[in-house]
Amino acid sequence: MADTGENFAAFNSRALVEMVGGVTDEALKVTKIKQFLSVLAGRFFNWAGRKSLFTLHLGIKCCAIEMAAAATPRFDGDRFGVLFRSSPRQSDVLLVNGPVSKKFADKIVRLWEQMPEPKYCIAMGECAISGGPYFQSYNILEGVDTVIPVDVYIPGCPPRPEALIDGFGLLREKIIRIGGAPSSERESEKPLIVGDE
């Protein structure tokens, strides 16, 4: 017992911290409090993430007018937490509301890369989905999904503001499922389509 190599003085603080941490961790695991806390925090943050969707104030074409109409008193998207910010750093949703031309393609990719994760992309209107009436044009990409992964498609030319709000509702349901996963990790997620049965 004399020379087991252990003595009280050699009991350093890191070991103490590890021991205490392990004990509390075990205690939390045994009493299920850890699981409870993690589930609770996940629920709360998921709620927060889907209740406040700041949208980038980007007006490309016709649908931009319906986007503005959706924010005004008759439709009032603000009651769903849809708020428009002018800076991509502070926005969660990139609402592509118009055709993406060759000249604008790299710009919109840059806007998408400037947005912090978790970020979502909504393709609003036929032009953003497939090129729409201009699918034959020499200067228009066939849909924004050729350059940006799209989460929700809102068909219509232009879709009514109710459809836009419905699209945000679909995005909420998707966020309930995927949580705050970054856009690179949800390539497998099938995009949702408004009005799709």
Partner: protein, 500 residues
């Protein structure tokens, strides 16, 4: 008069009773006093800060609701009516029908009558059917109240981005500079004479000094983001705040001169014991204080630093995630602190209006005096926020930079000096120190010629007259070419609301 609810004294007594017996015989015994003070102060500070923080959600909520109503209907000019009269008689959930025993029926009747009287006369063309049911399972108490909570928590989740070529150290530091200096303001703001974190002797100077720190952080943020918008925003902010600090300081100096102290709580006490609120003694000072404070907290019409139209988001364009959330919160804390300071300097703090008169009524007066001072202060602060900050923000346009600076230097500064002289004259020649009384009824120091409240009444009437003159001085005959020069059959501005 001290507030009846002395939370601070209560907690100090509690700690003083509980702690010393525990320390009997321990080596800590000789430092009992410090320990008691530390623990009690810790408790009080926590309580006060929690009260301030949770009541701040009400600020954001009030702004959202008021703005929704203003934008719904007539806009700022008549929006306050539509705060209680809903859109076409539709309020956000007919909450009065949810009260038990039909207690809310009279409210509903009054609402209906108000709608018939003042509501839109064009229900059948009404193009806005604002969704009237934001309730949760039928209960719509505080609809939309927790939206701000969701926003704040979402910011916690967001990725933290620093621009590649930004000056990373300063970029990271400046939000904390702004937020910490803003939080320090709340330390000296009393909720009543018994509920405050700390009460330094020169708290007015302290408040102004702290208010002056955040602009440095703003300038750092604008410069370090390596973005031209933020750079212009930061420089604008520096120039504007320099121009508006000085009138603010002079206005507060005139307040201090009038009330003879540099302490916020003492100035509130003075207003009561002298018999009249400062608002009625220096309306000009109150107006200057509000103007300069709006410029200090950078809200419309003085929000050049974050002018959304030309500078994308102003000096915080590059901030995202929780940094942006903290900056956003700091903005509103500054606004809230400005409302509190106005309440304490000009609206008599925690003293009820006509406390002496109504308090002297038997029965009712006693109940009236039972209203806690903290509630009075909060209500006054929210009212100031609603009537001044929100209303101005959503009814006015944005002024250009050079116009802002010219206004500050050429108009506000001389007016502030004039107000300082005026308050000195009031204090020296019109003030009767012998008549001060710190009782329930307040003093009568501002009586003159035996007429009660003569000086405040005359001052208010004079300033209201000047305000009215300046309101209607626009020389229609002088600038007919400007106002009425469109080739039209009906000139502009001839519409009288309420007339068909």
């Amino acid at each position: 008069m001290d507030d009846a609810y002395d939370l601070r004294g209560l907690i100090f007594d509690l700690v003083d009773k509980t702690i010393p017996p525990l320390l009997e015989g321990t080596p800590l015994e000789e430092s009992t006093g410090q320990l008691v003070f530390g623990l009690a102060t810790f408790a009080v500070v926590n309580i006060v800060f929690l009260m301030l923080f949770f009541s701040q959600f009400a600020i954001l909520w009030i702004e959202r609701k008021a703005v929704a109503r203003m934008n719904d209907r007539r806009g700022a000019t008549t929006a306050l009516r539509s705060l209680w009269v809903g859109e076409n008689g539709v309020t956000a959930g007919e909450w009065w029908n949810m009260l038990p025993f039909g207690l809310g029926k009279p409210v509903g009747a009054v609402n209906k009558w108000l709608n018939k009287k003042f509501g839109n006369r064009d229900e059948k063309f009404a193009t806005v059917d604002r969704v009237n049911n934001r309730s949760w399972m039928g209960y719509s108490i505080f609809p939309g109240f927790f939206q701000n909570v969701a926003d704040g928590m979402k910011f916690l989740l967001k990725e933290h981005m620093v621009p590649q070529r930004a000056d990373k150290l300063i970029f990271e530091v400046s939000p904390f500079l702004i937020v910490s200096s803003t939080l320090l303001i709340l330390g000296i703001i009393p909720l009543s004479s018994g509920i405050y974190a700390t009460n330094p002797e020169l708290s007015i100077l302290y408040a102004i000094a702290i208010f002056g720190i955040a602009p440095i952080g703003v300038f750092f943020a604008g410069w370090s983001s390596n973005n031209k918008y933020t750079l212009i925003g930061g420089i604008r902010s520096a120039a504007q705040l320099t121009a508006y600090e000085i009138p603010l300081l002079l206005t507060l100096l005139s307040v201090a001169v009038l009330s003879g102290t540099f302490n916020i709580i003492d100035s509130v006490h003075f207003q009561h014991s002298a018999g009249a609120w400062n608002l009625f003694l220096m309306p000009l000072g109150a107006g200057l204080f509000l103007l300069t404070m709006i410029a200090e907290v950078e809200r419309v019409p003085f929000d050049m630093p974050e002018a959304e139209a030309e500078l994308v988001e102003g000096w915080w364009t590059e901030y995202g995630g929780m940094r942006f959330g903290m900056l956003f919160m700091a903005e509103y804390i500054r606004t809230y602190a400005a409302c509190f300071l106005f309440t304490h300097f000009f609206l008599g703090g925690w003293h009820l209006p006509f406390q002496g008169l109504i308090g002297s009524i038997p029965l009712v007066g006693g109940l009236y005096l039972l209203i806690p001072g903290a509630v009075v202060v909060l209500l006054k602060a929210w009212l100031v926020f609603l009537l001044v900050f929100v209303w101005a923000r959503f009814s006015l346009a944005r002024i250009r930079t050079d116009q802002i600076l010219e206004f500050g230097w050429r108009i506000l500064l001389p007016l502030a000096v004039f107000q300082l002289v005026l308050s000195a004259v009031y204090r020296l020649y019109l003030f009767d120190p012998s008549a001060m009384d710190d009782g329930t009824y307040g003093g009568t120091s501002w009586d003159a010629l035996g007429v009660p409240f003569l000086i405040p009444a005359i001052t208010t009437i004079i300033w209201l007259g000047i305000f009215f003159l300046m309101l209607n001085d626009e020389d229609k005959s002088g600038n007919t070419e400007r106002m009425f020069h469109v080739y039209t059959d009906k000139p502009a501005g001839t519409y009288v609301p309420g007339q068909e």
